[in-house]
């Protein structure tokens, strides 16, 4: 239980008060569980040994640390028998209870102690741990508020109170707590905590005016006071001052601070003063200083790209301003200034001359030259010839760096300097200088060493980037594929001694060949090409088992073919973790559920959710640490980071899908639907998705590609994909909320004949349902409009959502009409025959639609035609939607049943009273009975079909075996069985 230890270690060994007597530049007393990073993974064992135990803590929760909660409870009970009022023992017992799942007992016990407003260290710290584990950090603030009232001069408790506020982001109270601390013990850090809290108030203020006119000026005055009294001690304090001035847009003042006496304290970060000055020069448009400073920094390090950019920016600004240097004084605060193209050209040429003397080859000067050409061209300047022909310069660059793997990435930035007519010539020019030798076996000349291979590979990548392969016909493409694969296999000989964790030098050949085959598949409809892709990638992976690109592309292709079985394993071998759950989790979650792999879908959602949930708590801890160590500039960054994860699109998606999945998998009869919804604390009214702030954290370029710009993933694709994902998420979230509203309705039926209930809020439930239904319809409309654009994302880019299938197979219509049915049934006894007629028609059309949907699930998953195989993954997707729709149908039917039953018995009672046999029963009962009968027939047909499907698939699998897995497609069938069971079970429960 590393997490438990972490929090314990954080609290017990040192008090927070002792921490703050020094800023982060001195030795720290703090012991964290992973005190040594390399051992982070086995933190638990290590931290036991490293925890320093202050003698004051007698009652350490040893058992709790070891995860032995039962023993801890027993020990605490024993102690409590002897000392009835030992608060600390009570809290330790509460922790034990909390960790054994007895949250309510734990809470009651804890509040017993908290009510006494304890002031002993042990109880306070143990309660803090407990509250944090309960995710109730706000209770910690109450605890210490009471403690400081009783012990007003305790530096320690005040400091705990400050940190408790920091955890929950109570900035104003932090400000006060910081000042209170400073009054007790006049240490600078406390004072500046208070100042920082003002900045946080300004950041979180809705009203920007308030932040600029109140919080920040106040913070500024507080720091100025310290400056005047000559009390500034630490670098962190100067950093904070700079931060305030920057936020106030007082750039001149900020510059004075950095360049002045106070600025001398800015020593930790490399070039801290220079970087800050540069930032201010830019804000102030002081181009002479920008220029002079970047020039100076480039003289020191001619490989620092950011300063080339500033240097060029400033030179051209100065030219545009017709700037001339002052006659007598220095050019600028930072020294000599370049203000003409001639100077810039010479400066870059000089950097190149210097580079040739350097022991380490530097790319910067050469790339800077190309950048300068680009800028001159952009300005329509005819001075570019002074620098030479870009084609020639790129050729020279290739000669110098072509054997480095980064050569392609570097040149990619500048290929737009080449005229399209020169592409082929350029490529052959490069090819000519690569030392390749012809072999006896092959017409193709091959590299003799890794360097030559690397150079050749660079040219192949460039050829793809320049669109040379795209322009080829089918036959030519296939020839290139063959050549690339030959080169790939030949290149393996250079990597014979590579470790499993290393990539083969020639891997990209294989990947590029596959990209060509993908073009053939998707653009020319060549079905065999995709099967070849799979075999080549599997071949590549067998030689280079750590190559993530092979795995990613295999995952993408298998998913597109509808074969999820191999995907889970491939994905898990990527070892994606932590932040990657957010950035690349979509690769898995998009397909797992839609291809019927419910267990894998659940699991991948769970992994992601665990990550997102821990983010909140983890980040708070490090915000506090940043206060302690005076890393103030990090605090807003940490908070922005936390917010970015909290408003992640993927987070909202896995949250929603996970709940839908749970309902589908667990709630097989109506009563357990109600239970499930209750246990998830779902309510139709609640919407916890931050729609306006949704952040797309997906890494959409995780799959490499070498495509030309016009085929590559564009900003537009990203924007559209986010829009599509958001629409789909809205549909799913509304569906979930509608389903969660069903049980809330069923209880309102009995007393419904009395008019009163309609007023006292019961009817609002159906209003909620109706309003959600309206929203769903509106979103569906927007979704349809969106799809009319017929957007095609690049195959390696964002996958399309399931929305198109949902609309086209008819499940959308089925699901909405089901919710309309709910709305109609609700009115059964208040509206006469008209609504009965409508309900009858709904039943009928619903069955027709379900039957239609079912028919769309039928067909061959793998079709063999003219010797080629083609998969139909849409059948699987339809089936999954069908199962989902049937589940909703059964929940809704069960609701209908719960309305009709009492309605019927009421009528029968009336009938008996009146003894009139002539009183006919309303038609709705017959409609419903017919409907249930037909539904049963349909579902048993479905079950039969699925059973049949399984036999076919088993046969197919056997066939595969005999074909010795040239066919890598496997389709899992057990899930259908399972679902057959589910459907059956639900019908029986009706």
């Amino acid at each position: 239980m590393p997490f438990v230890l972490e929090s314990a270690a954080f609290l017990f060994p040192t008090s927070e008060a002792r921490q703050c007597s020094c800023w982060h530049k001195t030795v720290s007393l703090l012991v964290l569980s992973f005190s040594h990073p390399h051992r982070a993974r086995q933190g638990a064992r290590q931290s036991c040994k490293l925890q320093r135990k202050p003698s004051s803590v007698r009652l350490r929760p040893n058992y709790l640390d070891n995860g032995n909660n039962k023993m801890a409870i027993q020990q605490a009970d024993k102690l409590l028998k002897k000392h009835k009022d030992l608060h600390c023992a009570k809290v330790l017992k509460a922790i034990g209870l909390q960790r054994t799942g007895k949250q309510e007992e734990a809470y009651t016990l804890a509040q017993e102690v908290a009510a006494l407003e304890p002031t002993d260290d042990n109880s306070l710290q143990a309660l803090t741990i407990l509250y944090r584990e309960m995710h109730r950090p706000e209770l910690v603030t109450k605890l210490y508020e009471a403690a400081v009232k009783k012990v007003p001069n305790s530096e320690e408790y005040h400091s705990h109170l400050f940190m408790a506020y920091a955890r929950v982001g109570e900035y104003k109270k932090m400000q006060q707590a910081g000042m209170a601390l400073y009054k007790i013990v006049p240490k600078n850090p406390y004072y500046f905590w208070s100042v920082m809290s003002l900045i946080m108030q300004s950041i979180s203020a809705q009203d920007e005016n308030l932040s600029k006119t109140m919080f920040l000026p106040l913070a500024e005055r507080m720091v100025e006071k310290m400056v005047k009294e000559d009390k500034i001690e630490a670098e962190a304090e100067v950093e904070l001052y700079y931060m305030i001035l920057e936020r106030l847009e007082k750039y001149r003042e900020a510059l004075d601070v950095v360049r002045g006496k106070l600025g001398e304290k800015l020593t930790s970060e490399l070039q801290s003063r220079e970087n800050k000055c540069m930032a201010m020069y830019k804000k102030l448009c002081r181009w002479p200083e920008c220029n002079a400073l970047s020039r100076r920094l480039l003289l020191k390090n001619s490989d620092d790209w950011q300063f080339y950019i500033t240097y060029f920016d400033s030179v051209f600004q100065l030219i545009d301003e017709s700037w001339t240097p002052p006659l007598e004084e220095e050019h600028s605060l930072e020294g000599e200034v370049h203000y003409s193209i001639e100077q810039a050209v010479k400066f870059i040429e000089d950097r190149i001359t210097e580079e040739s003397k350097s022991s380490r080859p530097l790319r910067g000067p050469y790339l800077a030259k190309l950048e300068l050409i680009r800028r001159l061209r952009h300005r329509g300047c005819n001075d570019e010839h002074k620098l030479g022909d870009p084609e020639e310069l790129m050729f020279q660059y290739f000669r110098k760096f072509g054997d480095k793997p980064c050569c392609f990435t570097d040149l990619k930035v500048f290929v737009d300097l080449l005229p399209a007519s020169q592409y082929t010539k350029f490529i052959s020019q490069l090819l000519e200088v690569i030392p390749l030798s012809a072999t006896a076996e092959s017409e193709i000349a091959l590299p003799d060493d890794i360097k030559a291979l690397q150079q050749h590979l660079c040219v192949v990548q460039l050829s793809r980037l320049l669109g040379i392969y795209h322009a080829m016909d089918k036959k030519q493409k296939l020839t290139v594929v063959q050549e690339l694969m030959l080169r790939y296999r030949h290149g393996l000989e250079f990597g014979k001694s590579c470790l499993k964790t290393e990539l083969q030098f020639s891997d990209y050949y294989c990947l590029l060949a596959v990209h060509l085959l993908l073009d053939l598949w998707l653009e020319e409809g060549e079905e065999t090409a995709v099967w070849q892709c799979l075999t080549l990638l599997e071949e590549g992976l067998s030689h280079s088992p750590s190559n993530a690109q092979f795995k990613l592309l295999l995952i993408r292709i298998y998913c597109r073919l509808g074969a999820f079985e191999p995907v889970a394993e491939l994905y898990s071998s990527l070892d994606a973790k932590h932040i990657q759950h957010d950035t690349i989790g979509y690769l898995l979650t998009r397909y797992a559920e839609s291809l019927g792999h419910y267990a894998a879908a659940s699991q991948s959602c769970n992994f992601a959710l665990r990550f997102f949930h821990s983010n909140q708590k983890d980040t708070s801890e490090y915000i506090i640490q940043a206060y302690k160590y005076g890393a103030f500039e990090k605090i807003p960054e940490f908070i922005a980071f936390r917010n970015r994860l909290n408003s992640s699109l993927h987070f909202a998606q896995v949250r929603t899908e996970r709940m839908l999945l749970d309902l589908l998998l667990e709630a097989n009869i109506s009563t357990s639907l109600e239970e499930s919804i209750k246990s998830m604390s779902l309510s139709p009214e609640e919407d916890d998705i931050p729609w306006k702030d949704l952040r797309d954290n997906r890494d959409l370029t995780v799959l490499f590609n070498w495509d030309p710009k016009d085929r590559d993933i564009s900003e537009e694709h990203r924007k559209l994909s986010l829009e599509e994902e958001t629409l789909w998420l809205r549909i799913r979230s509304l569906t979930l909320r509608l389903v969660s509203g069903l049980p809330t309705l069923s209880h309102t039926i009995q007393p419904k004949n009395s008019e009163k209930t309609a007023e006292n809020g019961v009817s609002s439930k159906i209003d909620t349902i109706r309003s959600l239904l309206q929203q769903l319809e509106a979103t569906v409309d927007s979704g349809k409009k969106f799809l009319e654009q017929k957007i095609q994302y690049p195959v390696l880019g964002p996958p399309p959502t399931r929305m198109a299938g949902f609309f086209s197979n008819g499940s959308c219509q089925c699901q909405t009409s089901l919710f309309y049915l709910v709305s109609d049934i609700y009115e059964l006894d208040t509206n006469g025959l008209e609504v009965q007629e409508r309900i009858g028609n709904s039943f009928k059309s619903l069955l027709e639609r379900l039957t239609d949907l079912f028919n769309k699930c039928k067909g061959d998953l793998i079709e063999v035609r003219d010797g080629t195989l083609k998969t139909h993954p849409n059948l699987l997707e339809n089936l999954v939607f069908f199962v989902e729709t049937i589940s909703i149908t059964l929940w809704v039917s069960s609701y209908c049943d719960s309305v009709l039953r009492p309605f019927k018995s009421n009528l029968q009672k009336k009938k008996k009273k009146k003894k009139e046999s002539s009183l006919a029963m309303p038609p709705v009962f017959t409609h419903f009975l017919d409907y249930v009968t037909d539904l049963q027939t349909l579902t048993s047909n479905v079950i039969d079909y699925i059973k049949g499907l399984e036999i076919i698939l088993t046969a197919l699998k056997l066939e595969d075996l005999s074909l010795k897995d040239t066919l890598l497609l496997q389709v899992r069938t057990s899930t259908y069985w399972w679902f057959g069971g589910l459907v059956e079970g639900e019908l029986l429960s009706l």
């Binding site: 051992r39 982070a40 790209w305 980064c406 964790t501 993530a548 640490q625």
Partner: protein
């Protein structure tokens, strides 16, 4: 800023968020990232300063150093190490140290070239998963100018246990 560029390099560990935040909160200056002109992440180094000044053990420590496969063989790791040493010099450290798997000969040789030498062996420092034995680490050091006599790097005669290191 955080831009989604996924590290899928098998030799580069993706740590949990707390790990990075801890370093950013405590030693922000020791976190250096190198970017290519196209915006690609070329590599990063992460470290910290620790140890007692009185005992002349105050030093810079390299926690993680990684260069993307695409940008290897450019001397980037050396450059990043140089920067970390410069920061440690400015802080008045006596030396810079790092831990490396005994089996990672490529890295050991690289560090030797950069002026590091093996100070001691730490037994079973790296815990292995899936039943393999734990692996030893070399604690490698390079003296900074404050340790003019290079006392801090005199190799220890015997290996030590992980729990014995500070």
């Amino acid at each position: 800023g955080f831009s989604p560029r996924s590290n899928l390099d098998p030799l580069t560990e993706t740590y949990g968020i707390p790990f990075y935040l801890q370093y950013l909160a405590h030693w922000p200056e020791y976190f250096i990232v190198a970017e290519a002109p196209g915006g690609e992440l070329m590599g990063y180094i992460m470290g910290k300063a620790e140890g007692s000044v009185a005992r002349e053990e105050w030093h810079g420590h390299v926690t993680a150093l990684s260069v993307a496969p695409e940008f290897r063989r450019l001397g980037l790791a050396a450059k990043l190490m140089e920067l970390l040493e410069e920061i440690s010099e400015k802080k008045g450290g006596f030396f810079v140290d790092l831990f490396v798997r005994v089996s990672n000969q490529v890295a050991v040789n690289m560090y030797k070239q950069l002026g590091y030498s093996v100070y001691r062996t730490v037994l079973e420092y790296y815990s292995a998963s899936n039943g393999e034995p734990d692996e030893d680490a070399y604690d490698m050091r390079k003296a900074l100018s404050r340790d003019s006599e290079k006392k801090s790097i005199i190799p220890l005669p015997h290996p030590v246990r992980p729990e014995d290191i500070e």
